[in-house]
């Protein structure tokens, strides 16, 4: 390996080193602020290391990893989002009566797994990244062991993720058995030479779609989502909803664009069905919920459906639209779960709609941020979510995917209803009975500043998306 290879790998190396450093810091001195500080510093260095890495891309480092602009862009997203999670989790865990420090180690390892995923163009690195991510998420979901739902969430996630990993592995094995390669570009060549129609390849890709489907939580592989979202501690839910889904979408894009599997006609059909079902089921089921975390879980199912519309559109437009949508979605979900995190106490997370009644009149800034996030999820202008939806519909319209667009339009109108339910509660004017009026936990500076920053980014993306669009478009060029 040359030194340029190491420069290209620098973000991954820094992330790995940061998790080791955090672990050693805990061994030296058990201090919440020290561990959080070390983790943040590690993430900051990892973010900085993206710039030297950009200088040497694109570069295939070992047969396993490819560091190109696409990977760098997604690594940037992952690192920044993880940093936001750390900042918001700090105040949350200050209030919890548990051992707090290991959370940050696990989080850094999970981020490392995600970073490996977005750079993988080989089955082995794909699976490695996925497992690094999954194993840490089991532990993270059940991080507050004295809450019953947390254990349920961890266990549920363990069983289903292990099952989906098995599907994925079996799919990879079938594809490998037919084509004799595990590298995505070589796979594309093999498929182009006539392997595409072979039954084993089709079955393999079908199994892999099942694995992807579980991780992305799209219908009909979505059953774990509401329970895990509800049970996991709010910062962990924020991480699962944003970073882990984002990394999975990145590898989905890379695998299907670079291995040539997108050209399989039946794969397109399957994704269309999945997208339609996810958009409708996610939005309709969310109508029935009274729990904010579960509403956001079902809404995430619907949003992954919207993302698949962009994916289905394909080409540079589809990839760019999907990536922009995902960026907007990550900012929005982090913000939304950030508010939940801020309001959660040591006994329970603030997850009932009732917890939010009249929030605006007592905590206007927090309620305003939450409202902005909800409007972004609903796709209202001035927010990033609006431009994301616009771009997605544009991508679909450019390929005449009228069925998908029609479902998207109808289901986002349905979706608006449950977002408005929360907004109505935030601005409710009837006085809350004094007995039910619990004092909110104090806002930490770190968490508050992060939320404000997220809200500003949300509006920046929604009003002046030009710079980020340019970055995305140049990043997507390396995918094709």
């Amino acid at each position: 390996m040359s030194s340029a290879d190491f420069v290209a790998l620098l973000p991954l190396i820094v992330l790995g080193a940061a998790s080791v450093a955090a672990m050693l810091a805990i061994a030296a001195r058990r201090s919440h602020s020290l561990t959080a500080g070390v983790s943040l510093a590690g993430l900051a260095v990892a973010f900085w290391s993206l710039w030297p890495a950009v200088g040497v891309v694109p570069r295939q480092v070992t047969p396993l990893l490819v560091i190109d602009r696409f990977a760098i862009f997604y690594m940037g997203l992952i690192v920044a989002a993880t940093a936001a999670v750390v900042l918001m989790a700090y105040g949350y865990f200050e209030r919890q009566h548990v051992v707090r420090e290991e959370f940050y180690v696990l989080l850094l390892v999970a981020a490392l797994g995600c970073a490996v995923l977005v750079a993988a163009n080989h089955f082995v690195s794909f699976f490695l990244g996925l497992e690094i991510l999954s194993v840490t998420l089991y532990a993270l979901s059940a991080y507050l062991p004295d809450r019953e739902v947390a254990l349920e969430a961890g266990l549920k996630y363990l069983v289903l993720a292990a099952g989906s990993a098995a599907f994925l592995l079996f799919g990879m094995a079938l594809v490998y058995a037919q084509t004799g390669t595990m590298e995505f570009p070589a796979l594309a060549r093999a498929l182009a030479l006539g392997g595409a129609g072979h039954l084993w390849v089709l079955a393999g890709v079908a199994f892999m779609i099942t694995g992807f489907g579980f991780k992305l939580a799209v219908v009909p592989f979505h059953l774990w989502t509401p329970d895990v979202y509800q049970g996991a501690p709010a910062p962990v839910t924020a991480f699962i909803a944003s970073v882990s889904k984002g990394a999975m979408f990145a590898i989905l894009l890379r695998f299907f664009y670079q291995s040539g599997s997108r050209d399989l006609h039946s794969a397109g059909l399957v994704f269309t069905i999945i997208a339609v079902c996810s958009m409708l089921a996610g939005n309709l089921l969310a109508l029935l919920q009274d729990n904010v975390k579960r509403i956001l879980a079902y809404s995430s199912i619907a949003h992954l459906g919207y993302l698949l519309v962009a994916f289905e559109a394909g080409g540079p437009v589809g990839a760019a639209a999907g990536t922009f949508y995902l960026t907007a979605y990550m900012v929005t979900t982090l913000g939304a779960f950030g508010v939940v995190t801020m309001l959660s106490s040591s006994e329970r997370d603030a997850e009932e709609i009732a917890d939010y009644r009249g929030l605006f009149w007592r905590r206007p800034a927090l309620a305003a941020v939450f409202t902005a996030m909800l409007f972004s999820l609903a796709g209202i202008p001035l927010t990033a979510g609006f431009l994301g939806k616009f771009y997605t519909i544009a991508a679909g319209a450019s390929q005449s995917l009228w069925l998908l667009i029609f479902v998207l339009v109808v289901s986002s109108a349905i979706g608006l209803y449950y977002y408005l339910r929360i907004v109505v509660a935030l601005f409710a004017t009837e006085p809350v009975p004094a007995a039910a009026q619990k004092p909110y936990p104090a806002l930490g500076f770190a968490g508050g500043a992060t939320l404000v920053a997220l809200a500003l980014i949300l509006i920046w993306l929604g009003v002046y998306p030009h710079p980020i669009l340019d970055a995305i478009q140049s990043a997507m060029a390396s995918l094709l």
Binding site: F360, A397, A413, L469
Partner: protein
């Protein structure tokens, strides 16, 4: 640049008003009032300064324009432009904005800062809708005016405010998304034809579309505007939203938001999809007639004063829709005048009902009886604006509806006859309003305060304006003239040809807009024919 100011003033005013409210509520109201007055003065100044050439026909030349690239990758520009039509609607916007701030002076005392923030931002959104000539920007503003309006209804409304607000939001959002899909289809069709990605209004006019696609895309726009207008059967959000909204919200809804629907029809549906609009005109006209009659009958059946006024809007906006799709000079001018006059008279009726409710805490007609004996000035104002609303000659609404009837008579006697029945029905609900609320004996022994100085000022100003519109509407019609000529050029001959087969057209001697020969319809169309050979052929062919 002045166009940007028209949007920035209410935006900034809203922010400042929201921020100072923490210290003093009075200063918040003053800031909001100052912002609306500033916007009003600016727009009136534009009108006066440009009055000399506002009525001149300028092909694709706007009175004022502002154009900057915004999202270059998609060909999106921050492109604002103003012609006589949008100028007048903006004057109306700020005028009703001033009235809304004044009428809320005593009514709103909770969350004053956030209220005025929302009120001013909804005005900014409306101004944005009237000025945007980039379709993306238009959609952006179109959606943006929803959110503050939603808050106005959901927070400061009456008993069923949440239901009404959510219904309003869902209706407009769903129809708006259909428009977004239509805009994007047009965008890609334009790219397919010319290789240029643009959302620019002037560029998109004349994009070739196959008849089927053209009709579907037109319907996407049409539905969005028809929901706002509101057209039967998409009107069901309106009675709820108008009734539950606070007074200022009802004024803005009835006076302005409904006009954005009509404006969209005039600005986008007719010019962009002239062929499809032609074919669709009979359906739209029929639905307009249904709306006129249905709105009037439903209004007669109401006992809640606000609901009654809300249904009259359905009826009046039916005239606007009819006028737009009849599409000849008289009908278009009538539709536009009705838009302005309805904004003033119905907006004022909502304010009067609001004042009554503030005093009596009820909107039920049966509980009000005989108010004339205790509050003669307010009741007199009520009578005046009810008479304006039912179309008494000499007042604003009459001129508009008369011109629409005249125009539709040229196309189809039957349409005109049915619409006239609607005018007749309006007399019933109008008189019912006056008799039940103001006349009779004061059986409930109301003893109320009459108009305060603040209220009398609003009423007085509006009375003058409605009289002016009724007696001398020429300045308004002159400013609308370029739009009429533009529509005549792109849309061509009266679009109701299909309906007029059974009807004898009669020669109309009356020159609709001005007595000077230079602007009579024959000369006007001749000038148009001179500029466009295509229009000539189409015009001649249909004759």
């Amino acid at each position: 640049m002045i166009l940007v100011w028209l949007i920035v003033i209410p935006l900034a005013g809203g922010l400042v008003a929201g921020l100072v409210a923490g210290r003093s509520q009075a200063s918040c109201r003053v800031v909001a009032l100052a912002a609306t007055i500033l916007g009003f003065l600016l727009s009136v100044m534009l009108w006066v300064r440009n009055y000399a050439h506002v009525s001149l026909w300028q092909q694709r030349n706007w009175l004022a324009e502002f154009d900057r690239p915004w999202i270059a990758g998609f060909g999106i520009h921050f492109h604002l432009a103003m012609d006589g039509m949008s100028l007048l609607l903006i004057v109306l916007t700020f005028l009703l904005g001033i009235a809304s701030v004044l009428v809320s002076w005593r009514e709103i005392d909770d969350g004053v800062g956030f209220f005025h923030f929302n009120l001013l931002w909804v005005l900014a959104g409306i101004v944005g809708v009237f000025l945007a000539v980039d379709l993306f920007l238009f959609y952006f503003a179109w959606e943006l005016m929803l959110v503050p309006m939603y808050f106005l209804i959901a927070i400061w409304g009456h008993e069923h405010r949440v239901y009404a607000a959510v219904k309003f939001f869902l209706f407009t959002q769903l129809s708006g998304l259909l428009m977004l899909v239509a805009i994007l289809t047009l965008y890609f069709a334009h790219h397919a034809a010319t290789g240029v990605y643009t959302f620019d209004y002037a560029e998109l006019i004349g994009t070739p579309l196959s008849p089927r696609v053209g009709l579907l895309v037109m319907l996407g726009f049409f539905v969005a505007f028809a929901v706002k207008l509101p057209m039967f059967p998409f009107h069901t959000w309106l009675p709820d939203a108008h009734t539950e909204a606070p007074t200022a919200g009802s004024v803005v809804l009835a006076g302005l938001l409904l006009k954005t629907g009509a404006y969209g029809m005039l600005r986008f549906v007719l010019p962009l999809f002239s062929e499809a609009a032609h074919r669709f005109a009979p359906v739209a006209a029929a639905l307009a007639i249904v709306g006129i009659l249905y709105g009037a009958i439903m209004a007669y059946g109401q006992t809640d004063l606000k609901r009654l006024v809300a249904y009259t809007s359905v009826s009046h906006l039916g005239f606007v829709l009819l006028g737009i799709f009849i599409g000849n000079r008289w009908a278009l001018e009538g539709a536009f005048l009705t838009m302005i006059a309805h904004g003033l008279s119905t907006g004022m009726l909502f304010m009067l009902v609001g004042m009554l409710q503030e005093r009596t805490h009820t909107r039920e007609m049966d509980r009000l009886n005989g108010l004339w004996q205790t509050i003669p000035r307010l009741s007199g104002a009520g009578l005046f604006f009810v008479l304006a609303s039912i179309g008494l000659p000499g007042l604003g609404d009459f001129v508009g509806e008369f011109l629409v009837l005249l125009g539709s008579y040229r196309s189809s006697v039957w349409l005109a006859a049915l619409a006239t029945v609607g005018v007749l029905c309006s007399t019933f609900y109008g008189l019912k309003f006056v008799q039940r609320a103001f006349h009779g004996s004061n059986v409930n022994r109301w003893s109320l305060a009459d108009l305060s100085g603040r209220e009398a000022a609003i009423v007085g100003a509006m009375v003058v304006l409605v009289l002016w519109l009724g007696l001398y509407p020429q300045p308004v019609l002159n400013s609308f003239e370029p739009t009429v000529q533009h529509l005549e050029q792109v849309v061509g001959p009266p679009s109701m040809a299909a309906l007029s087969t059974g009807a004898r057209t009669i020669p109309v001697i009356l020159s609709p807009s001005r007595s000077a020969g230079a602007k009579d319809p024959a000369n006007g169309s001749a000038a148009v024919l001179g500029t466009s050979p295509g229009a000539l052929q189409r015009y001649g062919g249909k004759r």
